[in-house]
Amino acid sequence: MKADNVKFRIGKSYGFQALVTALAFACVIPLIAILFFIIKAGITKINWHFLVNVPKPVGEVGGGIANALVGSILIIAVASVIAVPIGIMAGIYLSENRKSRLAYWCRLSVDILQGVPSIVIGIIAYFWLVKPLGGFSALSGSIALAIMMIPIIVRSTEETLKLLPSSLQEAAFALGMPFHRVIFKVVLPVGVSGILSGVMLSIARITGETAPLLFTAFGNPYLSTNLTKPMQSLPLLIFNYATSPYNDWHDLAWGASLILLFWVLFLNIFTKLITRKWKVQL
């Protein structure tokens, strides 16, 4: 009787272990399914013409996504130029002033900013930039994306710098170095790996963002490099063409999805590898 009870308990334990393992590995299925399907549907669409041509009107075969590729790269580059200095400086401020009242509110704001839904950022960028400037523009899209990048960069910078031994800074101060040189010549070079991974992560995060661009960069069927005019980007193109009723456009969207997916996964995996190599904690 008693032995049966013990056997039952052990069996139950193994049963739950099997259940947990099965459920845990079931989570892999959707990712594999998405990867598999998008590769299957997208790989046949991608060739040189696809990368260097702009989309053709409905009914004509061919056409590519050059405008979206160029647009994505430009919008992200401008967003990074805006967000990286602000994010890193705010991160330095937070790690240097841990106890001040402003630091408390700043930290709280960064936490809030990180959770703001992307569509709300889109609305904000619309009222801050699109309306005053009188039209949709790539620049407003970049700023919307920059607002989404900032909290990630601030957090990773702060976490990285917090881990540095304070003796490093103290030694530099003892040599009579002024504060800004201590930051630029000692603190940042030592923490560069962590900060860089944070920047890469933030770029990976915004590459696929669509919602903030809906009311800002808006999309453009032609190739444009003018930052003050509407511009196409990969996620916008996928959204517009995937929800259209035409099969030609669906094909275009599949190809674009494959490129976007690989771009984002590559950035993520690359970041993961360098963080492991440099032993950074994010």
């Binding site: 308990r9 402003l102 959770g115 992307s118 569509i119 976007l260």
Partner: protein, 329 residues
């Protein structure tokens, strides 16, 4: 003389030369120069410090600015529609009738359904990685894969859902005898469930790893099986941490826009059941913001954005508070 300098060796004669060269004037000039440099450094230092403070302020101003912009822009709708806006059951911009209840309901149902579907999976991942197999290549693979789930852009989830999931849901609906639309709240919940797994899973994993091993060892010592240790030691200990992870997942689900917009069907009537098409707050903003032509219409949409903002802020702050308390104890 030149060779000695090149070698880095200073000969006695050269040293004498240097000493004799430094007349009092030269020394004074040098001192003045270094003083000047010190002042320049001090000035740059204070400018730099001030810049850092300004950057810290920028964060606060950014959040306050977002909040104030939303409030100011939604004032027209708050004034003309009042509180009953949130409970109005009809949304018909053509007739100037604005009621947000269908969207509130759509958001709540789709998010909570997604949460219910995803909890068993995310908790399983957390237990598997935190307790059963913390190390090894297979858990590493699982961990990285789950993290990559969060990396896939939401528009790709939406497209995949539209092409693969919606037909599957349609077959299911045919089987159980509801109107086979395919797109609808159930489809969007399924997509959302996949998208939010990583948030609760990774937080839960790190919380479970924080459980002190003496607690677990004591339970093993009393003869508990592995499952009993998890159920009566690990899970109670990490209860609040798991709850925080689930809250953060919920915050994600509430604000998710693109994937939901693509598969929810976008109709502004109150959904009859979970298979019916509907609309969430985020999806209605995404769909109608650029075509809203009347000031009240635009403002009503922004008020939805304000509600969304406040709800996600509260959820995220509670989640963060719980995590902070948990990790500090």
């Amino acid at each position: 003389m030149d060779t000695s300098v090149e070698n880095g060796i200073v000969t006695r004669s050269e040293l004498q030369l240097r000493v004799t060269n430094s007349t009092p004037e030269a020394i004074a000039a040098k001192a003045k120069k270094s003083l000047k440099r010190s002042f320049r450094h001090i000035r740059t230092e204070s400018v730099f410090k001030r810049t850092l403070i300004i950057m810290g302020l920028v964060m606060v101003i950014l959040v306050l600015g977002i909040f104030l912009t939303l409030v100011v822009q939604s004032l027209p709708s708050i004034k003309s529609l009042g509180l009953k806006y949130l409970w109005g059951k009809v949304w018909d911009p053509v007739q100037d009738i604005y009621g947000a209840f269908p969207f509130l309901l759509g958001t709540l149902i789709s998010s909570f359904l997604a949460l219910i579907i995803s909890i068993p999976f995310s908790v399983a991942v957390a237990i598997f990685l935190g307790e059963y197999h913390p190390k090894g290549w297979l858990p590493d693979f699982l961990k990285n894969t789950v993290e990559l789930i969060a990396a896939v852009p939401s528009v790709i989830y939406g497209f995949w859902g539209l092409a693969i999931l919606v037909p599957m849901v349609r077959t299911l609906e045919n089987h159980i005898g509801v109107e086979p639309v395919g797109v609808g709240i159930f489809s969007s919940s399924l997509i959302l469930a996949v998208m939010i797994i990583p948030y609760a899973a990774s937080l839960g994993r790190s919380m479970i790893q924080l459980v002190p091993s003496p607690l677990k060892e004591a339970a093993y010592g009393l003869g508990a099986t592995r499952w009993e240790v998890i159920r009566s030691v690990v899970l109670p200990y990490t209860k609040s941490g798991l709850f925080a992870g689930i809250l953060l997942s919920l915050g994600r689900a509430l604000g998710e826009t693109m994937a939901v917009t693509m598969v929810i069907g976008n109709t502004s009537i109150i959904p009859k059941n979970i298979f019916a098409p509907g609309n969430t707050m985020a999806s209605v903003i995404a769909n109608e913001f650029t075509e809203a032509d009347k000031p009240v219409y635009v403002s009503a949409l922004i008020e939805l954005g304000l509600v969304l903002f406040l709800v996600t802020v509260v959820i995220n702050l509670i989640g963060k508070k719980i995590i902070d308390r948990f990790t500090n104890d």
